[in-house]
Symmetry: C2
Amino acid sequence: MHILVVGAAGMIGRKLVAALIAKGEVQGRPIDRLTLADIVAPETPDFAGKVSTVAADLSDDGVAAKLVAPRPDLIFHLAAIVSGEAEADFEKGYRVNLDGTRALFEAIRIEGLREVYAPKLVFTSSIVVYGEPLPETIEDTYFLAPLTSYGTQKAIGELLLADYSRRGFFDGIGIRLPTISIRPGKPNRAASGFFSSILREPLIGEEAVLPVEESIRHWFASPRAATRFLIHAAELDTAPLGSRRSLTMPGLAATVGEEIEALRRVAGEKAVKLIRREPNPAVAKIISGWPRSFDARRAAALGFQAEKSFDEIIRVHIEDELGNTLPA
Amino acid sequence: MHILVVGAAGMIGRKLVAALIAKGEVQGRPIDRLTLADIVAPETPDFAGKVSTVAADLSDDGVAAKLVAPRPDLIFHLAAIVSGEAEADFEKGYRVNLDGTRALFEAIRIEGLREVYAPKLVFTSSIVVYGEPLPETIEDTYFLAPLTSYGTQKAIGELLLADYSRRGFFDGIGIRLPTISIRPGKPNRAASGFFSSILREPLIGEEAVLPVEESIRHWFASPRAATRFLIHAAELDTAPLGSRRSLTMPGLAATVGEEIEALRRVAGEKAVKLIRREPNPAVAKIISGWPRSFDARRAAALGFQAEKSFDEIIRVHIEDELGNTLPA
């Protein structure tokens, strides 16, 4: 099986590639070839089969056609510029997140005109396709009303995915990822950054800033769960999806206060004391427009599973990012 | 006030132009200029102010920019190829209905980069943005799941409309039109054609074919109501819409049997006898995926109004299309 990962250099992309190599097969078919593409060249992983890495912009002429020409059996489309950048640069956001996605979908369709071709395609969407008015718990049949250009671009991607799948151009599935926590790496300027950093930094003895109230509730899954969602989506028989090709992934609805309690249980009061409260009304305002909780029953019925507690999310981080130990 | 109507040669476009000229003003401002564009040259209406007609494809390079360059104050975007054609010709559907819409929106945004410009923009969407699973009555917060490429393109248009409006590039409002009945003119091959023809043909003493059961329920408004929706949308203060820029228009939920009963009341048994039952499973299957009824309370609260009975819809047709008389 030949797998193409577009967006392979990102945090989720790298974890996905590692998980695919560790698993060795998808849908019972051994993986013998990987094509890893991103705007910067992805690292070449340690893999027995054939690996190609490609540094290119999907929205540039001919790039998508070139990626699709070897007719990969399975395509993961994770490539996107993030919410903050898509909001700051309107044209770039639409070019990368909408035109890039459409270029990939069109390349697959056009490749299929030559000779039958309909790969499985897994598309990452996001819970920010939802917007106001926000019920306390969002059902699977609730309407999409994105409040950002990024959310708009993801919602459009979902619509295209459904139509191209209905037409038989590919066998698509979209997964709306929860906010990924604990996101490894350095603190970044994303409005959602604190959800991870108030755990990540204290776990290694560093200070973190909490800009919002402890009562703020949001929807989370670990990077490990996100990788599992992607692979489960790739293996899933899409027949039960009917025309509804995108699914809200299960997650953990938790408040900031509950995050902090979990940190206390796992790493003690010393860690909790490293969280500095520094209210930021601008961040609070952005977060107030975000979903708080979902009833993701369609995905759950199809076997997608997330963490059940923040203790578990923290333990995943310690195992996967901190060599399974905490600093003394 | 300068008004641009894109799609001015179509049935609704022509009625809209006539209604605007009869009204003479919008938002209390006199209409002094009309630009009427369509893929074929729209007729030049009898109008005291300045009129330009343009025959051009909105998706062709430079067309949208040229239409927008004189900075119209109000833009109606009605242009689209219909459902059947968008389904039969995938590429043309996306080019006209998606790329054309985006070209118009982009032209407005780019015109605004030069000097502040944010016209009011009224976009016609359709109830076919909804799809399975279909509740008996669809609420305003129900999710969009189009089952056709046309519905997909309209749903994408709605998303772009909301994002461009949120960004302040224009002041957009989308209206999801019910199935227009009684559609004037000749019978066409649209799957929905019979909803109109079983009334229109018998009213002039001609035979019509009914391909489905009388129990089929659907959502209707007259062409006169559609024109009224468009003008009401143009006059509406969009502040109460918030980020939700598209509205399901009110309509009449009626069964085919109720249509026929109204025909009997208005035109007698003689007219009803001209309806020939000829079941067509292919048409029945298409129709089964269509919405049956809506609770369009947002639009109703904002003052949009449709007909309350099919008797009224038939009378509108007799007044507007048959010179207010029935053949003996």
